[in-house]
Protein backbone atom coordinates (compact mmCIF):
# COMPACT_ATOMS: atom_id res chain seq x y z
CA UNK A 1 0.00 0.00 0.00
CA UNK A 2 2.81 2.40 0.85
CA UNK A 3 3.86 2.79 -2.78
CA UNK A 4 0.45 3.92 -4.03
CA UNK A 5 -0.55 7.45 -4.95
CA UNK A 6 -3.43 9.26 -3.28
CA UNK A 7 -5.68 8.52 -6.25
CA UNK A 8 -4.87 4.81 -5.96
CA UNK A 9 -5.25 4.76 -2.17
CA UNK A 10 -8.54 6.60 -2.39
CA UNK A 11 -9.88 4.12 -4.96
CA UNK A 12 -8.79 1.26 -2.67
CA UNK A 13 -10.63 2.81 0.27
CA UNK A 14 -13.81 3.36 -1.75
CA UNK A 15 -13.70 -0.19 -3.15
CA UNK A 16 -13.25 -1.60 0.35
CA UNK A 17 -9.89 -3.22 -0.50
CA UNK A 18 -8.65 -1.84 2.81
CA UNK A 19 -9.94 0.53 5.47
CA UNK A 20 -8.45 3.85 6.53
CA UNK A 21 -7.69 2.22 9.87
CA UNK A 22 -5.66 -0.50 8.14
CA UNK A 23 -3.95 2.10 5.97
CA UNK A 24 -3.17 4.25 9.01
CA UNK A 25 -1.83 1.25 10.97
CA UNK A 26 0.28 0.29 7.97
CA UNK A 27 1.94 3.68 7.77
CA UNK A 28 2.31 3.93 11.57
CA UNK A 29 4.11 0.60 11.40
CA UNK A 30 6.47 1.93 8.74
CA UNK A 31 7.11 4.99 10.88
CA UNK A 32 7.88 2.75 13.88
CA UNK A 33 10.23 0.69 11.71
CA UNK A 34 12.14 3.49 9.93
CA UNK A 35 11.23 6.79 11.59
CA UNK A 36 13.97 6.70 14.20
CA UNK A 37 16.79 5.94 11.75
CA UNK A 38 15.77 8.93 9.62
CA UNK A 39 14.83 11.09 12.65
CA UNK A 40 12.08 12.64 10.54
CA UNK A 41 9.28 12.70 13.13
CA UNK A 42 9.19 14.93 16.22
CA UNK A 43 5.73 13.77 17.32
CA UNK A 44 3.78 10.65 16.39
CA UNK A 45 0.04 11.04 17.06
CA UNK A 46 -0.95 7.38 16.98
CA UNK A 47 -4.09 7.52 19.13
CA UNK A 48 -5.63 10.56 17.45
CA UNK A 49 -4.73 9.16 14.05
CA UNK A 50 -6.65 5.96 14.74
CA UNK A 51 -9.68 7.92 15.96
CA UNK A 52 -9.60 10.03 12.78
CA UNK A 53 -9.16 6.95 10.60
CA UNK A 54 -12.16 5.20 12.15
CA UNK A 55 -14.25 8.34 11.62
CA UNK A 56 -13.13 8.38 7.99
CA UNK A 57 -14.11 4.72 7.63
CA UNK A 58 -17.63 5.52 8.84
CA UNK A 59 -17.94 8.26 6.20
CA UNK A 60 -16.55 6.05 3.44
CA UNK A 61 -18.93 3.22 4.38
CA UNK A 62 -21.82 5.66 3.93
CA UNK A 63 -20.48 6.63 0.54
CA UNK A 64 -19.61 10.09 1.84
CA UNK A 65 -16.36 12.02 1.99
CA UNK A 66 -14.05 13.16 -0.76
CA UNK A 67 -10.93 11.90 -2.47
CA UNK A 68 -8.73 12.75 0.55
CA UNK A 69 -10.99 11.13 3.16
CA UNK A 70 -9.06 8.53 5.13
CA UNK A 71 -5.68 9.28 3.52
CA UNK A 72 -2.84 9.53 6.07
CA UNK A 73 -0.54 12.55 6.08
CA UNK A 74 1.84 14.45 8.36
CA UNK A 75 2.49 18.13 9.01
CA UNK A 76 5.76 19.98 9.20
CA UNK A 77 6.10 20.94 12.87
CA UNK A 78 5.70 24.62 11.96
CA UNK A 79 1.89 24.26 11.69
CA UNK A 80 -0.01 24.72 14.93
CA UNK A 81 -1.99 21.60 15.77
CA UNK A 82 -4.42 21.90 18.65
CA UNK A 83 -3.52 19.68 21.59
CA UNK A 84 -0.21 18.59 20.06
CA UNK A 85 3.29 19.81 20.62
CA UNK A 86 4.21 22.36 17.93
CA UNK A 87 7.94 22.85 18.36
CA UNK A 88 9.08 24.51 15.12
CA UNK A 89 12.24 22.47 15.63
CA UNK A 90 13.24 24.65 18.59
CA UNK A 91 14.00 24.23 22.27
CA UNK A 92 12.05 27.49 22.62
CA UNK A 93 8.81 25.65 21.81
CA UNK A 94 9.71 22.18 23.07
CA UNK A 95 6.97 22.52 25.73
CA UNK A 96 4.44 24.34 23.51
CA UNK A 97 1.09 22.58 23.15
CA UNK A 98 -0.80 24.63 20.61
CA UNK A 99 -4.21 25.90 21.80
CA UNK A 100 -5.50 26.17 18.22
CA UNK A 101 -5.12 24.79 14.70
CA UNK A 102 -3.47 26.43 11.71
CA UNK A 103 -5.94 27.03 8.87
CA UNK A 104 -4.05 24.50 6.73
CA UNK A 105 -4.47 21.91 9.50
CA UNK A 106 -8.22 22.60 9.64
CA UNK A 107 -8.52 22.40 5.87
CA UNK A 108 -6.84 19.01 5.54
CA UNK A 109 -8.72 17.73 8.57
CA UNK A 110 -12.04 18.83 7.06
CA UNK A 111 -11.04 17.07 3.85
CA UNK A 112 -10.93 13.90 5.95
CA UNK A 113 -7.17 13.40 6.02
CA UNK A 114 -5.64 11.49 8.92
CA UNK A 115 -2.69 13.23 10.60
CA UNK A 116 -0.05 10.74 11.73
CA UNK A 117 2.29 13.23 13.37
CA UNK A 118 4.58 16.22 13.13
CA UNK A 119 7.74 16.33 11.09
CA UNK A 120 11.24 17.48 11.94
CA UNK A 121 12.57 20.70 10.42
CA UNK A 122 15.34 23.26 10.71
CA UNK A 123 14.80 25.44 13.77
CA UNK A 124 12.16 28.06 12.92
CA UNK A 125 12.66 27.00 9.26
CA UNK A 126 16.10 28.60 9.23
CA UNK A 127 18.44 26.24 7.47
CA UNK A 128 18.98 24.31 4.26
CA UNK A 129 20.04 20.95 5.67
CA UNK A 130 17.75 20.19 8.62
CA UNK A 131 20.83 20.26 10.86
CA UNK A 132 19.73 23.28 12.91
CA UNK A 133 16.84 21.36 14.50
CA UNK A 134 16.88 21.09 18.30
CA UNK A 135 15.81 17.47 17.75
CA UNK A 136 18.87 16.62 15.68
CA UNK A 137 19.49 16.26 11.97
CA UNK A 138 17.19 14.34 9.66
CA UNK A 139 18.87 11.80 7.39
CA UNK A 140 18.36 11.47 3.66
CA UNK A 141 16.72 8.10 2.80
CA UNK A 142 18.86 7.87 -0.36
CA UNK A 143 22.07 8.08 1.66
CA UNK A 144 21.73 8.23 5.42
CA UNK A 145 25.11 9.95 5.76
CA UNK A 146 23.71 12.88 3.80
CA UNK A 147 21.31 15.70 4.63
CA UNK A 148 17.69 15.71 3.39
CA UNK A 149 17.85 19.42 2.64
CA UNK A 150 15.86 21.98 4.55
CA UNK A 151 14.07 23.45 6.11
CA UNK A 152 11.24 20.97 5.36
CA UNK A 153 13.72 18.07 5.63
CA UNK A 154 11.55 15.82 7.79
CA UNK A 155 8.65 16.19 5.33
CA UNK A 156 10.86 15.36 2.33
CA UNK A 157 12.55 12.37 4.00
CA UNK A 158 9.23 10.94 5.24
CA UNK A 159 7.58 11.13 1.80
CA UNK A 160 10.70 9.81 0.02
CA UNK A 161 10.94 6.82 2.39
CA UNK A 162 7.19 6.22 1.94
CA UNK A 163 6.47 6.70 5.65
CA UNK A 164 3.59 8.99 4.68
CA UNK A 165 1.86 9.39 1.32
CA UNK A 166 2.04 13.17 1.61
CA UNK A 167 3.31 15.91 3.91
CA UNK A 168 2.99 19.65 4.23
CA UNK A 169 5.97 21.97 3.99
CA UNK A 170 6.72 25.67 4.01
CA UNK A 171 9.01 27.60 1.71
CA UNK A 172 10.60 30.96 2.58
CA UNK A 173 13.66 30.72 0.33
CA UNK A 174 13.44 27.19 -1.05
CA UNK A 175 12.44 25.15 2.00
CA UNK A 176 9.96 22.97 0.08
CA UNK A 177 11.80 22.73 -3.25
CA UNK A 178 15.40 22.17 -2.14
CA UNK A 179 14.59 19.22 0.19
CA UNK A 180 12.19 17.87 -2.48
CA UNK A 181 15.14 17.95 -4.88
CA UNK A 182 17.55 16.33 -2.40
CA UNK A 183 15.09 13.54 -1.54
CA UNK A 184 13.64 12.87 -5.00
CA UNK A 185 10.05 13.95 -4.38
CA UNK A 186 7.64 16.54 -5.80
CA UNK A 187 7.24 19.84 -3.94
CA UNK A 188 5.26 22.96 -4.78
CA UNK A 189 5.53 26.47 -3.38
CA UNK A 190 2.36 28.31 -4.41
CA UNK A 191 1.91 32.00 -5.25
CA UNK A 192 2.37 34.16 -2.15
CA UNK A 193 -1.02 34.50 -0.45
CA UNK A 194 -2.58 31.46 -2.14
CA UNK A 195 -2.43 29.33 1.02
CA UNK A 196 -3.26 30.77 4.44
CA UNK A 197 -0.38 31.53 6.78
CA UNK A 198 -2.64 31.58 9.86
CA UNK A 199 -1.22 29.29 12.53
CA UNK A 200 1.95 28.68 10.54
CA UNK A 201 4.73 29.94 12.79
CA UNK A 202 6.07 33.03 11.03
CA UNK A 203 9.69 33.31 9.91
CA UNK A 204 9.70 36.00 7.17
CA UNK A 205 6.12 37.07 6.61
CA UNK A 206 6.52 38.56 3.12
CA UNK A 207 8.18 35.36 1.85
CA UNK A 208 6.62 32.43 3.78
CA UNK A 209 4.25 30.18 1.87
CA UNK A 210 2.96 26.66 2.61
CA UNK A 211 2.62 23.92 0.02
CA UNK A 212 2.35 20.19 -0.62
CA UNK A 213 5.24 17.69 -0.64
CA UNK A 214 4.16 14.58 -2.46
CA UNK A 215 5.20 11.65 -4.63
CA UNK A 216 3.99 13.23 -7.85
CA UNK A 217 2.26 16.21 -9.44
CA UNK A 218 -1.16 14.55 -9.48
CA UNK A 219 -1.06 14.18 -5.69
CA UNK A 220 0.27 17.74 -5.33
CA UNK A 221 -2.75 19.04 -7.28
CA UNK A 222 -5.14 17.23 -4.93
CA UNK A 223 -3.45 18.51 -1.79
CA UNK A 224 -3.06 22.07 -3.06
CA UNK A 225 -6.77 22.04 -3.90
CA UNK A 226 -7.53 21.41 -0.23
CA UNK A 227 -4.94 23.91 1.08
CA UNK A 228 -5.58 26.87 -1.21
CA UNK A 229 -8.19 29.54 -0.65
CA UNK A 230 -9.05 32.77 1.06
CA UNK A 231 -8.75 33.00 4.83
CA UNK A 232 -9.91 36.10 6.65
CA UNK A 233 -7.52 35.24 9.50
CA UNK A 234 -4.52 35.91 7.23
CA UNK A 235 -4.28 39.58 6.30
CA UNK A 236 -2.33 38.81 3.11
CA UNK A 237 -4.56 35.95 1.97
CA UNK A 238 -5.74 36.28 -1.64
CA UNK A 239 -9.42 36.47 -2.48
CA UNK A 240 -8.97 35.19 -6.05
CA UNK A 241 -11.00 32.12 -6.91
CA UNK A 242 -9.19 28.78 -6.63
CA UNK A 243 -9.20 26.93 -9.96
CA UNK A 244 -9.53 23.14 -10.34
CA UNK A 245 -5.86 22.10 -10.24
CA UNK A 246 -6.50 18.55 -11.44
CA UNK A 247 -8.59 19.57 -14.46
CA UNK A 248 -5.70 20.65 -16.66
CA UNK A 249 -3.10 18.05 -15.65
CA UNK A 250 -3.22 16.31 -19.02
CA UNK A 251 -3.24 19.41 -21.21
CA UNK A 252 -1.04 19.15 -24.28
CA UNK A 253 2.31 20.92 -23.93
CA UNK A 254 2.67 21.67 -27.65
CA UNK A 255 3.77 25.26 -28.02
CA UNK A 256 4.52 25.74 -24.32
CA UNK A 257 7.31 28.31 -24.15
CA UNK A 258 10.01 27.31 -21.70
CA UNK A 259 12.76 29.74 -20.72
CA UNK A 260 16.13 28.60 -19.43
CA UNK A 261 17.82 31.45 -17.55
CA UNK A 262 21.48 31.43 -18.45
CA UNK A 263 22.27 32.50 -14.87
CA UNK A 264 20.94 29.11 -13.65
CA UNK A 265 23.61 27.28 -15.63
CA UNK A 266 26.72 29.25 -14.68
CA UNK A 267 29.91 28.04 -12.99
CA UNK A 268 28.11 27.56 -9.64
CA UNK A 269 26.18 24.56 -11.02
CA UNK A 270 27.56 21.05 -10.61
CA UNK A 271 28.32 19.79 -14.12
CA UNK A 272 26.67 16.38 -13.54
CA UNK A 273 23.50 18.05 -12.27
CA UNK A 274 23.57 20.26 -15.38
CA UNK A 275 23.59 17.16 -17.61
CA UNK A 276 20.54 15.72 -15.82
CA UNK A 277 18.68 19.00 -16.28
CA UNK A 278 19.59 19.13 -19.99
CA UNK A 279 18.13 15.64 -20.47
CA UNK A 280 14.94 16.69 -18.66
CA UNK A 281 14.60 19.79 -20.83
CA UNK A 282 15.02 17.55 -23.88
CA UNK A 283 11.98 15.53 -22.70
CA UNK A 284 9.99 18.75 -22.77
CA UNK A 285 11.15 19.45 -26.30
CA UNK A 286 9.87 15.98 -27.26
CA UNK A 287 6.56 16.84 -25.59
CA UNK A 288 6.23 19.78 -27.98
CA UNK A 289 7.54 22.64 -25.87
CA UNK A 290 9.65 25.43 -27.35
CA UNK A 291 12.86 26.06 -25.46
CA UNK A 292 14.69 29.35 -25.41
CA UNK A 293 17.47 30.94 -23.40
CA UNK A 294 16.47 33.90 -21.25
CA UNK A 295 18.21 36.08 -18.69
CA UNK A 296 17.44 37.03 -15.11
CA UNK A 297 20.26 39.56 -14.81
CA UNK A 298 19.92 40.26 -11.08
CA UNK A 299 19.66 36.63 -9.99
CA UNK A 300 23.10 36.66 -8.36
CA UNK A 301 21.80 39.32 -5.97
CA UNK A 302 18.90 37.20 -4.76
CA UNK A 303 20.83 35.49 -1.95
CA UNK A 304 22.27 38.73 -0.49
CA UNK A 305 18.82 40.36 -0.82
CA UNK A 306 17.25 37.44 1.01
CA UNK A 307 19.81 37.59 3.83
CA UNK A 308 18.71 41.14 4.61
CA UNK A 309 14.95 40.82 4.07
CA UNK A 310 14.46 37.46 5.80
CA UNK A 311 16.54 38.25 8.93
CA UNK A 312 14.90 41.69 9.22
CA UNK A 313 11.44 40.13 9.20
CA UNK A 314 12.50 37.26 11.46
CA UNK A 315 13.96 39.61 14.07
CA UNK A 316 10.52 41.20 14.33
CA UNK A 317 8.53 37.95 14.17
CA UNK A 318 10.64 36.12 16.73
CA UNK A 319 10.43 38.94 19.27
CA UNK A 320 7.24 37.24 20.51
CA UNK A 321 9.32 34.46 22.03
CA UNK A 322 10.18 36.18 25.29
CA UNK A 323 9.57 33.60 28.00
CA UNK A 324 6.44 35.35 29.30
CA UNK A 325 3.29 33.84 27.79
CA UNK A 326 4.38 30.49 26.38
CA UNK A 327 7.47 28.54 25.46
CA UNK A 328 10.82 28.29 27.19
CA UNK A 329 11.65 30.38 30.25
CA UNK A 330 15.09 30.46 31.85
CA UNK A 331 15.57 29.42 35.50
CA UNK A 332 15.59 32.11 38.21
CA UNK A 333 15.61 35.32 36.16
CA UNK A 334 17.20 38.21 38.10
CA UNK A 335 15.05 40.87 36.43
CA UNK A 336 12.87 41.38 33.37
CA UNK A 337 15.78 41.99 31.00
CA UNK A 338 17.54 38.88 32.29
CA UNK A 339 14.30 36.93 31.74
CA UNK A 340 14.11 38.02 28.09
CA UNK A 341 17.81 37.71 27.28
CA UNK A 342 18.47 34.37 28.92
CA UNK A 343 15.20 32.77 27.79
CA UNK A 344 16.08 33.75 24.22
CA UNK A 345 19.79 33.05 24.55
CA UNK A 346 19.13 29.57 25.95
CA UNK A 347 15.97 28.81 23.92
CA UNK A 348 17.26 29.66 20.43
CA UNK A 349 19.97 27.81 18.53
CA UNK A 350 23.01 29.41 16.88
CA UNK A 351 21.60 29.94 13.37
CA UNK A 352 18.40 31.52 14.68
CA UNK A 353 20.44 33.85 16.90
CA UNK A 354 22.69 34.82 13.99
CA UNK A 355 19.69 35.72 11.83
CA UNK A 356 17.88 37.65 14.56
CA UNK A 357 21.04 39.68 15.19
CA UNK A 358 21.64 40.34 11.47
CA UNK A 359 18.03 41.52 11.24
CA UNK A 360 18.26 43.70 14.34
CA UNK A 361 21.43 45.27 12.94
CA UNK A 362 20.00 45.85 9.44
CA UNK A 363 16.96 47.58 10.94
CA UNK A 364 18.83 49.61 13.53
CA UNK A 365 19.21 53.40 13.39
CA UNK A 366 21.85 54.48 10.90
CA UNK A 367 21.92 51.22 8.95
CA UNK A 368 18.32 50.92 7.75
CA UNK A 369 18.86 52.67 4.39
CA UNK A 370 22.13 50.90 3.62
CA UNK A 371 20.76 47.42 4.24
CA UNK A 372 16.98 47.08 4.44
CA UNK A 373 15.96 49.81 2.00
CA UNK A 374 18.67 48.80 -0.46
CA UNK A 375 17.56 45.15 -0.27
CA UNK A 376 13.95 46.11 -0.91
CA UNK A 377 15.03 48.03 -3.99
CA UNK A 378 17.04 45.11 -5.33
CA UNK A 379 14.04 42.87 -4.55
CA UNK A 380 12.07 45.07 -6.92
CA UNK A 381 14.73 44.63 -9.65
CA UNK A 382 14.66 40.83 -9.21
CA UNK A 383 10.88 40.84 -9.39
CA UNK A 384 10.97 42.98 -12.56
CA UNK A 385 13.37 40.48 -14.16
CA UNK A 386 10.75 37.75 -13.73
CA UNK A 387 8.02 40.02 -15.03
CA UNK A 388 10.02 40.66 -18.21
CA UNK A 389 10.82 36.97 -18.60
CA UNK A 390 7.14 36.02 -18.42
CA UNK A 391 6.40 38.37 -21.30
CA UNK A 392 8.49 35.98 -23.41
CA UNK A 393 7.94 32.53 -21.88
CA UNK A 394 5.27 30.56 -19.99
CA UNK A 395 7.46 28.59 -17.62
CA UNK A 396 11.05 29.05 -16.44
CA UNK A 397 13.07 25.89 -15.89
CA UNK A 398 16.41 25.02 -14.40
CA UNK A 399 17.97 23.10 -11.54
CA UNK A 400 16.34 23.38 -8.10
CA UNK A 401 19.70 23.33 -6.35
CA UNK A 402 23.30 23.72 -7.55
CA UNK A 403 24.23 20.22 -6.34
CA UNK A 404 22.77 16.98 -5.03
CA UNK A 405 22.58 16.34 -1.29
CA UNK A 406 25.78 16.88 0.72
CA UNK A 407 27.21 15.07 3.73
CA UNK A 408 25.93 15.63 7.27
CA UNK A 409 28.18 18.22 8.91
CA UNK A 410 29.83 19.18 5.62
CA UNK A 411 28.51 22.75 5.57
CA UNK A 412 27.29 23.06 9.15
CA UNK A 413 30.12 25.41 10.20
CA UNK A 414 29.98 27.54 7.08
CA UNK A 415 26.75 29.59 6.99
CA UNK A 416 27.56 31.33 3.71
CA UNK A 417 28.20 28.15 1.76
CA UNK A 418 24.93 26.75 3.19
CA UNK A 419 23.06 29.91 2.11
CA UNK A 420 24.23 29.46 -1.49
CA UNK A 421 22.45 26.11 -1.81
CA UNK A 422 19.26 28.19 -2.19
CA UNK A 423 20.59 30.35 -5.01
CA UNK A 424 18.09 29.12 -7.63
CA UNK A 425 15.05 29.00 -5.35
CA UNK A 426 15.10 32.33 -3.49
CA UNK A 427 14.06 34.46 -6.48
CA UNK A 428 10.55 32.96 -6.58
CA UNK A 429 10.02 33.87 -2.92
CA UNK A 430 11.25 37.43 -3.39
CA UNK A 431 8.89 37.89 -6.35
CA UNK A 432 6.04 35.90 -4.73
CA UNK A 433 5.56 33.61 -7.75
CA UNK A 434 4.87 29.84 -7.69
CA UNK A 435 7.60 27.27 -8.26
CA UNK A 436 8.03 23.54 -7.90
CA UNK A 437 10.65 20.82 -7.91
CA UNK A 438 10.16 17.46 -9.63
CA UNK A 439 12.49 14.44 -9.61
CA UNK A 440 14.53 14.45 -12.85
CA UNK A 441 17.25 11.86 -12.34
CA UNK A 442 20.24 10.93 -10.25
CA UNK A 443 23.93 11.72 -9.92
CA UNK A 444 25.85 8.90 -8.20
CA UNK A 445 22.63 7.57 -6.68
CA UNK A 446 21.51 10.94 -5.32
CA UNK A 447 18.35 12.60 -6.63
CA UNK A 448 18.31 15.73 -8.79
CA UNK A 449 15.32 18.07 -8.91
CA UNK A 450 14.14 20.03 -11.94
CA UNK A 451 12.70 23.40 -10.98
CA UNK A 452 9.66 24.87 -12.74
CA UNK A 453 8.88 28.52 -12.03
CA UNK A 454 5.66 30.15 -13.22
CA UNK A 455 3.93 33.50 -13.25
CA UNK A 456 1.50 34.54 -10.48
CA UNK A 457 -1.38 32.05 -10.08
CA UNK A 458 0.06 29.61 -12.63
CA UNK A 459 0.08 26.63 -10.23
CA UNK A 460 -2.24 24.77 -12.62
CA UNK A 461 0.16 25.27 -15.50
CA UNK A 462 3.16 24.14 -13.43
CA UNK A 463 1.29 21.03 -12.27
CA UNK A 464 0.30 20.31 -15.88
CA UNK A 465 3.90 20.62 -17.07
CA UNK A 466 5.15 18.46 -14.18
CA UNK A 467 2.46 15.83 -14.69
CA UNK A 468 3.11 15.46 -18.42
CA UNK A 469 6.81 15.03 -17.68
CA UNK A 470 5.98 12.39 -15.06
CA UNK A 471 3.88 10.52 -17.65
CA UNK A 472 6.99 9.98 -19.78
CA UNK A 473 9.57 9.49 -17.00
CA UNK A 474 9.66 7.32 -13.90
CA UNK A 475 12.10 9.24 -11.67
CA UNK A 476 9.24 10.07 -9.28
CA UNK A 477 8.48 6.37 -8.84
CA UNK A 478 11.98 5.45 -7.66
CA UNK A 479 12.17 4.49 -4.01
CA UNK A 480 15.40 4.20 -1.99
CA UNK A 481 16.19 0.46 -1.79
CA UNK A 482 16.10 0.27 2.02
CA UNK A 483 12.56 1.66 2.05
CA UNK A 484 11.04 0.01 -1.01
Amino acid sequence: MHNQTITELSAGLKAGDFSSEELTCGFLQRIAQHGEALNCFITIAEEQALVAARAADVLIAKGEGGILTGIPMAHKDIFCTKGHKTSCGSKMLDNFISPYNATVVNQLESAGMVMLGKLNMDEFAMGSSNETSYYGAVRNPWDTNCVPGGSSGGSAAAVAARLVPVATGTDTGGSIRQPASFCGITGLKPTYGRVSRFGMIAFASSLDQAGPMTRDAEDAALILQAMAGFDEKDSTSLENEVPDYSAGLNNDLTGLKIGLPKEFFDEGLDSEVAKVIEVAVEEYRKLGAEIKEISLPNMQLSVPTYYVVAPAECSANLSRFDGVRFGYRCENPADLNDLYSRSRGEGFGAEVKRRIMIGAYALSAGYYDAYYLKAQQVRKLISEDFKKAFEEVDVIMGPTAPSTTFGLGEKADDPLSMYLSDIYTIGANLAGIPAMSVPAGFVAGKPVGLQLVGNYFSEGQLLNAAHRYQQVTDWHQRVPAEFA
Binding site: F96, P99, S206, D338, G345, A360, Q376, Q377, K380
Partner: protein, 95 residues
Protein backbone atom coordinates in the same frame (compact mmCIF):
# COMPACT_ATOMS: atom_id res chain seq x y z
CA UNK B 1 31.35 45.51 7.03
CA UNK B 2 33.61 44.41 9.81
CA UNK B 3 31.93 44.44 13.19
CA UNK B 4 33.79 44.91 16.45
CA UNK B 5 33.14 42.88 19.58
CA UNK B 6 31.37 45.87 21.16
CA UNK B 7 29.01 46.10 18.15
CA UNK B 8 27.99 42.48 18.65
CA UNK B 9 27.38 43.06 22.35
CA UNK B 10 25.16 46.03 21.44
CA UNK B 11 23.24 44.12 18.76
CA UNK B 12 22.72 41.18 21.12
CA UNK B 13 21.34 43.57 23.71
CA UNK B 14 18.99 45.19 21.16
CA UNK B 15 17.75 41.72 20.21
CA UNK B 16 17.51 40.67 23.89
CA UNK B 17 19.69 37.64 23.30
CA UNK B 18 22.25 36.75 25.93
CA UNK B 19 25.53 35.65 24.42
CA UNK B 20 28.35 34.32 26.52
CA UNK B 21 31.74 36.07 26.60
CA UNK B 22 33.39 33.13 24.89
CA UNK B 23 30.85 33.31 22.04
CA UNK B 24 31.43 36.97 21.19
CA UNK B 25 34.44 36.31 19.00
CA UNK B 26 32.75 33.70 16.81
CA UNK B 27 29.57 35.77 16.45
CA UNK B 28 31.70 38.80 15.53
CA UNK B 29 33.41 36.98 12.69
CA UNK B 30 30.27 35.15 11.46
CA UNK B 31 28.08 38.24 11.47
CA UNK B 32 30.83 40.27 9.77
CA UNK B 33 31.13 37.64 7.09
CA UNK B 34 27.36 37.65 6.43
CA UNK B 35 27.24 41.46 6.34
CA UNK B 36 30.22 41.49 3.98
CA UNK B 37 28.34 39.09 1.74
CA UNK B 38 25.15 41.15 1.65
CA UNK B 39 27.17 44.20 0.72
CA UNK B 40 27.26 42.77 -2.79
CA UNK B 41 23.94 44.61 -3.04
CA UNK B 42 25.91 47.84 -3.35
CA UNK B 43 26.85 46.76 -6.88
CA UNK B 44 23.24 47.21 -8.01
CA UNK B 45 22.13 50.52 -9.42
CA UNK B 46 18.91 51.24 -7.55
CA UNK B 47 18.59 54.95 -8.23
CA UNK B 48 14.88 55.78 -8.42
CA UNK B 49 13.77 52.18 -7.79
CA UNK B 50 10.68 51.92 -5.59
CA UNK B 51 11.42 49.62 -2.64
CA UNK B 52 9.38 46.41 -2.69
CA UNK B 53 8.21 45.53 0.80
CA UNK B 54 5.77 42.89 -0.27
CA UNK B 55 5.10 40.62 -3.25
CA UNK B 56 1.45 41.58 -3.64
CA UNK B 57 0.43 44.80 -5.26
CA UNK B 58 -2.51 45.19 -2.92
CA UNK B 59 -3.57 47.42 -0.10
CA UNK B 60 -4.04 45.99 3.37
CA UNK B 61 -7.46 44.42 3.71
CA UNK B 62 -9.49 45.80 6.60
CA UNK B 63 -12.13 43.97 8.55
CA UNK B 64 -15.17 45.24 10.37
CA UNK B 65 -14.25 46.31 13.90
CA UNK B 66 -16.20 43.76 15.88
CA UNK B 67 -15.41 41.09 18.43
CA UNK B 68 -14.96 37.74 16.70
CA UNK B 69 -12.94 35.82 19.28
CA UNK B 70 -14.23 34.28 22.46
CA UNK B 71 -12.44 34.48 25.78
CA UNK B 72 -9.94 31.61 26.06
CA UNK B 73 -7.76 33.03 28.78
CA UNK B 74 -7.66 29.84 30.83
CA UNK B 75 -6.65 27.74 27.86
CA UNK B 76 -3.97 30.19 26.78
CA UNK B 77 -2.62 30.61 30.31
CA UNK B 78 -2.47 26.86 30.85
CA UNK B 79 0.70 26.81 28.72
CA UNK B 80 2.29 29.90 30.29
CA UNK B 81 5.48 29.57 32.35
CA UNK B 82 3.98 31.38 35.37
CA UNK B 83 0.58 32.95 36.06
CA UNK B 84 -1.39 34.13 39.07
CA UNK B 85 -5.01 35.32 39.30
CA UNK B 86 -5.26 35.34 35.52
CA UNK B 87 -2.10 37.44 35.11
CA UNK B 88 1.24 36.53 33.54
CA UNK B 89 4.03 36.80 36.09
CA UNK B 90 7.46 38.33 35.39
CA UNK B 91 10.18 39.49 37.82
CA UNK B 92 9.32 42.68 39.66
CA UNK B 93 9.78 45.73 37.41
CA UNK B 94 8.97 48.62 39.77
CA UNK B 95 10.75 48.68 43.12
Amino acid sequence: MSLKAEDVVKIAHLARIEIKDEEIESYTSELSEILGFVERLNAADTKGVTPMAHPLDQVQRLRVDEVTEEDQRELFQSIAPETENGLYLVPQVIE
